[in-house]
């Protein structure tokens, strides 16, 4: 039987304007969490519902997992300011995870804003597979978009993985001037990433995921997107977190992001 976890806050670092990187100790989540999965944290006793955050990093040996989050409202603010050592009532790891790319295919990770969180763990898993698996999988390419340079948080986290992201900023203050999807479209034109050569993984704001999905479908590049929904329960009972999806026969139906996702085949989603 699953049980709520009592994860202890190990440390908090402010890594950008309103952006916090937090480490928790919990052996089970540290061991089991896969890229794309999330934890559902009760920020404090005053909150009725939990808040969903993607697992950003794990360290099974140290028995810790990390999250990277933006203070949006009362829940994330409370979490960001909890004293070190606070025990947080946590469910997880929850949800599904990214599907590995076909052999010889380049994984392209396209993130927007805090959407980089699950992609960082995915990059870590893909790099780990390179050192352990025979017939070396192809190294991931990472494209990250943020509004402005200051929000390009935690690049050091990526340097330790030997993944060097291509940055895109809305104001042109860092890297490419434009969105991550614009940069990806540009790179798609210049590289041989057509059908059978690349697999795209996206996480970011919904309009961005829509644009990415449309581009990938048009170019016939397989694409998975990780979606966000307001999640009262996080384990599938409330039916609140739905997304419209195309069924096998083409008819539209609602699916739960917490349990059927958060990762979906982009072609199956009606944005």
């Amino acid at each position: 039987m699953n049980r709520p976890r009592r994860a202890t806050l190990v440390w908090t670092r402010r890594v950008g304007p309103n952006v916090y990187h937090q480490r928790f100790s919990d052996s089970l989540i540290a061991r089991r969490a896969k890229a794309g999965q999330f934890v559902h944290l009760l920020p404090g006793s005053d909150h009725l519902f939990r808040r969903a955050l993607s697992v950003y990093a794990t360290d099974p040996r140290a028995e810790t997992f990390d999250v990277l989050h933006q203070v949006l409202g009362a829940g994330t603010r409370c979490l960001a300011h909890q004293p070190i050592g606070t025990v947080i009532d946590t469910l997880g790891p929850l949800g599904n995870s990214f599907t590995p790319p076909a052999r010889g295919t380049t994984p392209v990770l396209v993130g927007g804003g805090l959407g980089m969180a699950p992609l960082r763990l995915w990059a870590a898993e893909l790099m780990a597979a390179r050192s352990t698996r025979r017939g070396k999988p192809v190294a991931p390419i990472m494209i990250l978009g943020v509004r402005t340079r200051e929000l390009a948080v935690a690049p050091y986290q990526l340097r330790t993985l030997h993944v060097h992201p291509h940055w895109a900023t809305d104001d042109g203050s860092l890297g490419f001037h434009g969105t991550a999807v614009d940069l990806f479209a540009d790179m798609l034109r210049r590289n041989d990433w057509g059908p059978g050569h690349a697999m795209v993984y996206g996480c970011g704001p919904e309009p961005m995921m829509k644009a990415l999905a449309e581009l990938c479908i048009a170019q016939q590049v397989p694409c998975e997107v990780s979606l966000e929904r307001s999640m009262p329960c996080g384990y599938g009972v409330c039916m609140g977190c739905v997304v419209t999806s195309r069924g096998a026969s083409g008819y539209e139906t609602y699916r739960r992001v917490c349990r059927d996702g958060p990762v979906f085949d982009a072609a199956a989603i009606v944005f």
């Binding site: 049980r3 009725l48 929904r229 307001s230 009262p232 009972v237 409330c238 039916m239 609140g240 609602y254």
Partner: protein
């Protein structure tokens, strides 16, 4: 240390059915049973009430369907369900295997639909009671009819005639006179009443000027509605002598105890399941501990103990 022998007896019998505990899950808040069973010992549950099932499948309302509010939530799920035949084929077999009582909640558009659902379910084994949802605030006519005692009486009579299974009529609080609704149900053959369903509410985004729910209005549930629910149980208990099942904002064992004191024979836990997947079993344990602290050996000793 508590020993097995000193553990209070939580069992209750109502409408001729024996329940291991008076703590049930509320309709629409425990998934198909499978999801919640992964998180809690369902043997500690008195009953599992299914999400409302209708004759035809319903897609439900578009997203956003929920909003967190002060001490509660709004929902406008819109009765998403697969329809009665898929329910019987895909969900009922699993529900039957669960070590708890199964109460199937039904919803219709018109009286004959309620009767047809009751009739269809009577042929199926493993259903301990039907809960008749006369109170969903998220669909048109859901409340208009449910707030009319004449219609409640007629609908209850039609369901009664269609089935031999015990029937529980679930009432809306969106009325000025819930007692007369309860009386109409009791007079037309209801075995029990459950109260309350959600209260109509709304939330607005002051930045975008838009409603926060796609359906604009929704049903308010959670701790915010507990006082309304307690008053409803109190009024209904004074009006009828069939058992009442209390619902609304129960988050702890003492919340449950308060409903029992007012006269409820059992309670249902809804929104609390979203905060804690094991809420119902925690509440059952807490209720046991509370009874012990009061020196009571049976939960039935608590029912209706209100002193006014």
């Amino acid at each position: 240390m508590t020993t097995r022998a000193s553990r209070p007896d939580l069992s209750v019998t109502l409408a001729g059915v024996h329940f291991a505990t008076p703590i049930w899950t509320a309709s629409g808040t425990a998934g198909t049973g499978e999801e919640i069973a992964a998180w809690c010992d369902t043997g500690k549950l008195g009953g599992m009430v299914t999400k409302s099932v209708s004759l035809e499948p319903r897609p439900g309302h578009p997203y956003p369907r929920t909003v967190e509010t002060a001490s509660g939530m709004l929902n406008a799920i819109g009765l998403q369900n697969k329809g009665i035949e898929a329910f019987i084929a895909e969900e009922l077999p699993r529900l039957r295997q669960m070590p708890t009582r199964v109460i199937v909640n039904v919803v219709g558009w018109a009286i004959d639909e309620y009767a047809a659902l009751a009739h269809r379910l009577t042929r199926e084994e493993g259903i301990d009671a039907l809960e008749v949802n006369l109170s969903c605030p998220n669909v048109s006519r859901g409340i208009d009819n449910g707030a009319d005692p004449g219609w409640v009486g007629e609908c209850t009579a039609a369901v009664r005639a269609a089935t031999t299974t015990p029937i529980i009529i679930k009432l809306t609080p969106n009325t000025h006179d819930i007692a007369s609704l309860a009386r109409a149900a009791a007079d037309h053959g209801a075995d029990a009443i459950s109260a309350i369903n959600t209260l109509v509410g709304m939330a607005v985004n002051h930045n975008t000027f838009k409603p926060r729910l796609a359906n604009i209005t929704g049903g308010l549930s959670g701790p915010a509605i507990k006082p309304v629910a307690l008053a409803a149980v109190y009024k209904i208990k004074k009006a009828v002598d069939i058992p009442v099942i209390g619902i609304g904002g129960i988050m702890s064992g003492t919340d449950a105890a308060e409903f029992l004191i007012v006269g409820a024979s059992a309670v249902q836990v809804g929104t609390a399941n979203f905060r804690h997947p094991d809420a119902t079993t925690r509440i059952a344990d807490e209720l046991g501990a509370y009874l012990q602290s009061k020196g009571m050996t049976r939960v039935t000793d608590l029912i209706g103990r209100l002193e006014v």
